[in-house]
């Protein structure tokens, strides 16, 4: 929409030496952490069940799925695009993996994981190709594929549901088992976060994404292969949504064509609340992960506090508005500060 809008100065990307901007960035993530602590403390005083082992486990499992999606979304948003189709990709992958495991109970779990990632990657590649060669805003393309992919799921599933009793025990165990007390799903999410975080922070491929998001034209002039990187970002987002579909199927054991409907809102919210600016060019996957945690904790706290669950979606919407508002505020202040500094030189 606002392709001509001047990008906010890259905050995280160029902040190694400028402590002021680095502090702003840290302040934003610590803001979420603070909100989390207050929310958890308040909810725990109202109802001690909130901090029981089972409750924490549920929160972590929920966060794991959302965080995997949010990492992919962060990668795409950093390039100044958006991927609204992730909820549908998750549903498609979950149904594909569910029916694969139902029909071939002997398959090892790793095959399911790879199959899910592959389904997601194909969807992501399609998004990437359409955005890259169609010269069409990602919003329109992924709004279209949001419905198209969901339609494919419904077409394929035709109203049938895959229930837990049809799935092999090994696959369901994967959804609940833990190693050293940490559930597998959480471990996978952490691994995804760490890898994506390191690549974005320290590798050329990652830095190029920030450059593209800050100024696509400048990035192109600097020799960055903008088109190829854009497709790659969508591929990553799709593949991670596919992985999230596997985690979803393993955790819930019940999959129908509607799995993951509306997730795209929570995913965008998690990334945006976590400080990934929709203007592109700034933010981190750590923030996106924290955003996912915050949203999951809010959902769980609402249930514990006996507040109408319907508030959850309204809160998600309000958080998106709050986060982009705060982001704008920070961007304006940074721009002002930079201007001031330049005028003294």
């Amino acid at each position: 929409m606002n392709a001509t809008k001047v990008a906010a100065p890259p905050r995280e990307s160029s902040s190694d030496r400028s402590s002021w901007t680095a502090n702003v960035f840290k302040a934003r993530e610590s803001g979420i952490v603070l909100a989390l602590i207050v929310l958890v403390a308040f909810t725990a005083t109202q109802n001690s069940r909130f901090l029981s082992g089972q409750s924490i486990r549920d929160i972590l499992l929920g966060t794991a799925i959302l965080a995997v999606l949010a990492v992919g979304q962060a990668v795409v948003i950093i390039t100044r695009n958006i991927d609204l189709s992730v909820g549908s990709v998750l549903g498609l992958s979950a149904f594909a993996v569910g029916s694969l495991m139902r029909d071939n109970p002997g398959l090892p779990v790793i095959v399911a994981v790879l199959a899910g990632i592959a389904v997601g990657a194909v969807c992501g590649l399609l998004n990437g190709v359409l955005v890259r060669f169609g010269q069409v805003p990602a919003l329109v393309v992924t709004l279209g594929t949001l419905y198209a992919f969901r339609g494919v799921s419904f077409f394929w599933a035709g109203g049938q549901q895959i229930n837990a009793d049809k799935l092999p025990a090994s696959f369901l165990d994967f959804g609940t088992a833990s190693i050293l007390g940490i559930p597998w799903l959480v471990l996978i999410a952490v691994v995804v976060l760490v890898i994506a975080g390191i690549v974005l922070r320290s590798y050329r491929a990652g830095r190029e994404l920030y450059a593209m998001g800050s100024s696509p034209q400048a990035a192109k002039l600097a020799g960055i292969k903008v088109g190829r990187n854009t497709s790659a970002a969508f591929l990553v987002s799709g593949a991670l949504a596919g992985l999230a579909g596997v985690l979803f199927a393993a955790r819930f054991g019940t999959v129908d064509a509607a799995a993951g409907t509306g997730y795209e809102l929570n995913v965008v919210a998690a990334a945006v609340v976590g400080g990934v600016a929709v203007f592109g060019g700034s933010g981190s996957v750590w923030g996106a992960g924290l955003g996912a945690l915050l949203l999951t904790v809010i959902g769980s706290a609402l249930a514990v506090l006996d507040i109408n669950q319907f508030w959850q979606q309204a809160i998600v919407g309000a958080l998106i508005l709050l986060a982009i508002g705060a982001d704008r505020l920070v961007a304006v202040r940074v721009a002002k500060a930079l201007k001031k500094r330049d005028s003294h030189v």
């Binding site: 929409m1 606002n2 329109v140 709004l143 419905y147 508030w311 998106i320």
Partner: protein
């Protein structure tokens, strides 16, 4: 619009192509799909396209200015939910309807405030309010429904003129559509809308208050979504929080299908109305063929993508063709010129 700057240029005009495709679809469907050509189905078709057509009118303005409003379907849902709970609370329907329209306008003003005063990206803002308004709709009404609206109103909305196939509500729709068309294509406001979309800075330098313009466009968009919420509720005699869920896709798809550029600055209202009719006829014909709602989503999604891709493909094909002509006949005048 047949300006030289049009993406499709003189190859063929997009509007004309959409009208042509619509006519073909209607003719083929009348011949091939059982019951499509009946007057009863014609009434249903018109009633189905009513909310899409209504919301598409202000959406055209907004997309031409280069912005977007994804929250319209949620505004419809929240209006419907509020309408239901006010009716439950015992207010008269004559009180409720204007209140609902005002509510829609306020919800639109919230979007406008975030987009024009705080200068936040419209996409992010309206994704936020899409979630917020739908969530509030559920907070207001839960997942129940309110159904006992006065028979006079519901039967007027579903009724037809005389015993013919034309729904009563089509007449006000045509009047409103003509009004929007006049404003867009024959007044300074319309020219400002195109100017703002073609180049916001230039428009500002030319003295157009683009911020104020866009703010009011969002207010109108919200108010019209409110009207659509009232009509939706009366048509199905059911106020529900999930009314109109996903309708934003159909509206955006219809507007882009009608030849409005998602980049702003280009489009015509007659084209958009043709897009609405095409989309509604296709969906109606497929539904009569027992194609499920979910499969219809594939069609709508693919149409949305095709309608933005096709102009680009045609224009790049033309560029390639011109380049090749120039290469094979150096100095020769291109045949297209």
């Amino acid at each position: 619009m047949s300006e030289p700057g049009n993406r499709l240029g003189r190859l063929f005009s997009w509007d004309a192509a959409v009208v042509l495709v619509t006519v073909v679809v209607v003719l083929v469907a009348s011949g091939a799909v059982e019951n499509f050509g009946t007057s009863r189905n014609f009434t249903f078709l018109l009633l189905d396209l009513l909310p899409i057509a209504l919301i598409a009118l202000p959406m055209t303005f907004i997309i031409v200015t280069g912005e977007i409003d994804l929250s319209v379907a949620s505004t419809l849902g929240l209006t419907s939910a509020v309408m239901g709970s006010l009716w439950d609370a015992g207010l008269s329907i004559e009180m409720i309807i204007p209140l609902c329209v005002v509510l829609g306008a306020i919800l639109g003003a919230v979007n406008g405030f975030f987009v024009t005063v705080l200068k936040l990206p419209a996409l992010a803002v309206t994704i936020g309010t899409l979630a917020l308004y739908r969530g509030l709709a559920f907070v207001v009404l839960g997942d129940g429904a309110v159904a006992d609206f006065p028979r006079d109103y519901t039967s007027w909305v579903t009724g037809t003129i005389g015993d013919g196939p034309i729904p009563n509500v089509l007449i006000p729709l045509i009047v409103v559509a003509a009004l929007f068309g006049l404003v867009l294509h024959a007044t300074p406001i319309g020219r400002s809308v195109f100017a703002a979309g073609a180049g916001e800075q230039a428009a500002r330098f030319a003295g157009i208050r683009t911020g104020r313009l866009k703010f009011w466009l969002y207010v109108v968009s919200g108010a019209v979504a409110g009207v659509a919420g009232v009509l939706w509720t009366l048509r199905y005699s059911s106020a529900r929080a999930d009314n109109g869920f996903g309708l934003e896709l159909a509206v955006v798809a219809a507007v882009l299908l009608g030849g409005v550029s998602i980049f702003g600055g280009k489009g015509t209202l007659p084209g958009v109305l043709a897009g609405v009719v095409l989309l509604a006829s296709l969906q109606n014909a497929l539904r009569l063929q027992d194609v499920s709602n979910e499969a219809l989503n594939i069609v709508t999604g693919v149409l949305l993508i095709v309608s933005v891709l096709l102009p680009n493909i045609v224009s790049s094909a033309r560029t390639a063709l011109r380049r090749r002509n120039r290469a094979t006949a150096p100095g020769a005048v291109s045949p297209e010129r």
